[in-house]
């Protein structure tokens, strides 16, 4: 099934400069895994070695944060809009 993936500016240079692409997969994990095969440079920003979501990556399917939908197991259906949002954080550590 094809869903729409919105890519944040910070990831675009490593993903061909595109802001929106069509993606295939029935779960968020499948979609992200396919992305990392096409764009290996972004793998460390999306997924941990065990296949879970990176701590500093927020993923939304439509209006819902996938951390509350089962993480990488969250379902993706046709015409869903997936948004990748790297966390914006910092501090005086």
């Amino acid at each position: 099934m094809a869903a729409v993936l919105r890519i944040p500016t910070v990831l675009r240079p490593a993903m061909g400069g595109e802001s929106v692409i069509a993606v295939e997969g029935s779960t968020v994990g499948e979609v992200l895994l396919k992305l990392t095969k096409t764009y290996p440079a972004i793998k460390s920003q999306l997924l941990n070695d065990d296949g879970t979501l990176h701590r500093f990556l927020n993923v939304y399917v439509n209006d819902d944060d996938v951390r509350y939908l089962g993480g990488v197991e969250a379902s993706v259906t046709n015409n869903d809009e997936i948004t990748l949002l790297p966390a914006v954080a910092g501090g005086v550590w």
Binding site: T9, V10, D63, L85, V88, G90, G91, V92, W93
Partner: protein, 133 residues
Amino acid sequence: MLTLSSTQRDAILATCIRALPNEGCGLLLGTSDGVVREIAASRNVADSAKVYEIDPRVLLRAYRRADEEDLEVLGVFHSHTHSEPYPSPTDVRQAPDPSWHYVIVSLRDTPADLCSYRVVDEVVSAEPVLFLD
């Protein structure tokens, strides 16, 4: 250069003061020439005086708002409650977007100090901030 209205500057300072004793934070929406059009204040979801993290829901709404209004998410502001307005090593490591403006408000002294930086390949450069009445 970053351009802020005095109203936007006051909104940033108010957000940071309200967040005390924690760090305050929010996003800057505007045009690619560095002119800020809107401030999106955020809760600090890190709930900390030493660390900040923008609420992801604020981030999502800001990107959607930017798309609707033909704006860009230009950058982020946050406060340092007891230190100078200069990016910490953590700020630099977690500032991966070379196109963003990173605004830091120091609440250490009165009046508060607001500065803006660009961070490219972990190299920090201060930039001028123009305040419009």
